[in-house]
């Protein structure tokens, strides 16, 4: 994080959503999903992959959300404790809010019904889904993940116990289509959502892509005391250009992707 100096030492301790909570996934399923997570976002010289950043804990937290009251679906509050309040002169103060995101909000009746259906499916929901007769039953995410992993293991050409962690990443493409899409999206969510949800461990997902992280309650601008002038802060410009060097400019491989996409979309390459 670019504002590391503003982060208190305890900011990344996340007891409420750590991997010590309820588990749905078996050790075998966790290993397969870890391999899939690293297939989506692999470790390399730039930093850790999705597995090390907590993707499987994130997924398990969602699949076991209803084992908490309130269900751990929607985090509460406005702020984490990663950024301070602004001082009277607009600069970062030494005062940090409590991490409100460690709490979760109660779900309304309709929200609860939706998430129960999404996670447990029609078979696990009293009365099933509202349109099962016409559209077929909803298959819950818990079953989709479990069955998908089972099917992938069965289809994978080598026994997974005899497969190393890196070769096992190829099992991602043996997931059935729906489970493949589910896992891919969940891994992306785990990488870049608030660490309180269980992924993005220690903000590592943000750090890898050079993102500042959540900015509240400090934000990026302030009204200069005694004036009506709105200003930004040194080091995190809002109004003017970035003052630091580009951490990672686009190389030719990435530029080639845009060239190809623009040609398909009917756009223009200007230089």
């Amino acid at each position: 994080l670019k504002v590391l100096g503003a982060v208190p030492a305890t900011a990344w301790l996340l007891p409420a959503c750590s991997s010590s909570g309820p588990r749905y996934l078996t050790d075998t399923e966790r290993r397969v999903l870890s391999a899939c997570a690293d297939a989506v976002f692999p470790p390399d010289a730039s930093g850790p992959g999705a597995a090390e950043l907590g993707a499987v804990d994130f997924i398990d937290n969602l699949l076991t959300a209803f084992e908490h009251d309130p269900p751990r679906i929607i985090a509460a509050g406005s702020f984490s404790d990663r950024r301070p309040y602004a001082a009277a002169d607009g600069s970062p103060s030494a005062s940090f809010p409590a991490d409100q995101f460690l709490e979760f909000l109660p779900l309304s009746r309709v929200q609860r019904a939706g998430w129960q259906l999404r996670l447990y499916g029609s078979a696990g929901t009293p009365g099933g889904g509202p349109n099962d007769a016409l559209l077929g039953p909803v298959i819950g995410l818990r079953d989709r993940i479990r069955d998908g992993v089972r099917d992938a293991i069965a289809a994978f050409p080598t026994p997974i116990d005899a497969t190393g962690d890196i070769p096992l990443r190829a099992i991602f493409d043996y997931l059935p289509d729906q489970a493949h899409a589910d896992v891919q999206l969940l891994v992306l969510q785990s990488l870049f959502s608030l660490p309180e949800y269980g992924g993005n461990r220690d903000g590592g997902g943000w750090r890898i892509i050079h993102f500042d992280g959540d900015s509240m309650p400090l934000g990026y601008s302030f009204v200069a005391p005694g004036t009506n002038q709105i200003r930004d802060r040194p080091g995190t410009p809002l109004i003017g250009p970035e003052t630091g060097a580009d951490p990672e400019p686009m190389d030719e491989e990435v530029l080639d992707l845009f060239r190809a996409a623009v040609a398909v979309l009917g756009g223009k390459t200007f230089y």
Partner: protein, 582 residues
Amino acid sequence: LSAKPIILGNASLDRFDALVIGSGASGGAVAAMLTRNGQKVLVLEAGPNYFPGIDLPDAATLPGAPAGQPLPQFGNDELRLLHRYQIQPDPLTEPRTFRHSVADGDRLRVGDFANFAKTVGGGATHADLKTPRFIPDDFRLATLFGADATKDGASFVDWPVQYDEIEPFYLHAERLMGVQGADGVDPFAGKRSGPYPTPPGAAMYVSSKMAAGVSQLGYTLFACPTAINSLPYDGRPACNDCGFCQGTPCAINAKGTPGVTTLRKALLTGNCQLRPETRAVRLLVDGAGTSITGVEAILPDGSRAMFAADRYVLAANPIEDVRLLYLSGSGGAALGNSSGLVGRNLMLHRGVNVLGVFEDQLHGHRGRGSDHAFTDFRQPANRAVPVGGIVVVQTVPYLIQQAQTYLDQFGALGVKGALLKKMLRQARPRDRLINLSMYGEDAPQPTNTVDLDPAIRDIDGIPVARLTYREHAYEVSAQQFYVPKMIDILGAAGARFAAPIAPGDPPGSGHLMGTLRFGADPATSVCRPDGRFHDIGNLYGTGASLFPTSSGFNPTLTITMLASYVAASIVSPGSPERALPG
């Protein structure tokens, strides 16, 4: 699971002058206007309340709340807001269906179409609240277009109220919402009778980048009016440009959403009662079918109750308003539909987006995400060129959404795994992408409709809304004409690449308009010029549902303005301006 009803505001009220269905831009404005004029108002809101303390004069006792303000249960949290349905209806429990025309059969797809936030404050809670006024010509397009007003099935009509007549209500709405802006910077704006409440906020770096490109092609970029406090205003703090503004609610109440402006003002009068998680499912009518006698609603625990008032105001949105009218009719007919126009002329702003790729560090995650615009493409009186809409400069700040987009859009080019990681590190969307978004005006078409799906139900077993929508040559030709110009603007601003993004089907602008158009003639409109239904003496439409045409501007200010106008017409029939604050 709570079994008791949730009652906010004055819980002792048991008789109401008006019952308002919906608490968003329309419902909040109606409640504010009626209650400040002494009327007792009940507001039913289908969604939850995420503003604890919304009804407390000084909510400072709530830990973490901004001084004296409700505590917004919203943060810099993309997951809950854009992926976990905190405020959006969940398509598993509250789906909609979609088709292009009756030729598609009952439906093409079931899912999440033109859905709108269902929460206290409605869609104005998570909108980025750009709040330009419509221009005077927008209110008289049929006059300007002549024979073209009905070309190829279009149904352009003039509004029954004109800009000069309702301008004081625009100013009122701007003051209610705390709109930031500057007089005289938009060369095409209508005249104003007062200044903006606050000046423009900090201009993002992307805006200065784009200013050069826009001016090089002869257009005028200006700070877009936006209902976000640039300075402390009305007891709410100034925006600190946290970056979570497009499609996400505000964590500090700097955004002028109904929960901290209109609705809160209504609740603090003592004349208002708000019931969240209380969904109106049926209007009851008298024997003659000319008067509403009550509303049946589903309470937070799933049980049902009846509510009554002297008047009833539909303020959900143009889709849910119509759904309720169909649910309340008999024999498959909608209430109040002697014109045959209930649910017709649905408009969604089928706009166009053009993305520019830059090699700079644009840091588009710092700021409001969208703070400048130009309106040179919106010239309805110029019949020599297609009629476009306002073009806003937007950044692409969200991480999960964009990672998924990179996979979807570049997957065919081999982007996955290590290459995806590299793209997210190097082609950081917040740093590299600028989106020019034109809110092209939809031609109103009677064949674009809302009605009930014959078979698909929501979680309570109630028929869901079905959208039938197909684009018109009017908006398609405008897009084809202006997209090359938008590409060149991005190039002039320094983009290395620029390309258009295909509109969604149906469009995903989040702008819902039409379906209860208002006018003087009961044969050609659903509601009267004062918002009252022609057919039903104590039922009113408001806001975007009344729009006969959709203009080419963000609609929220006009929704708030028109809702205030309708409510003022209830308070002071024939002289609504008398109901405005002195």
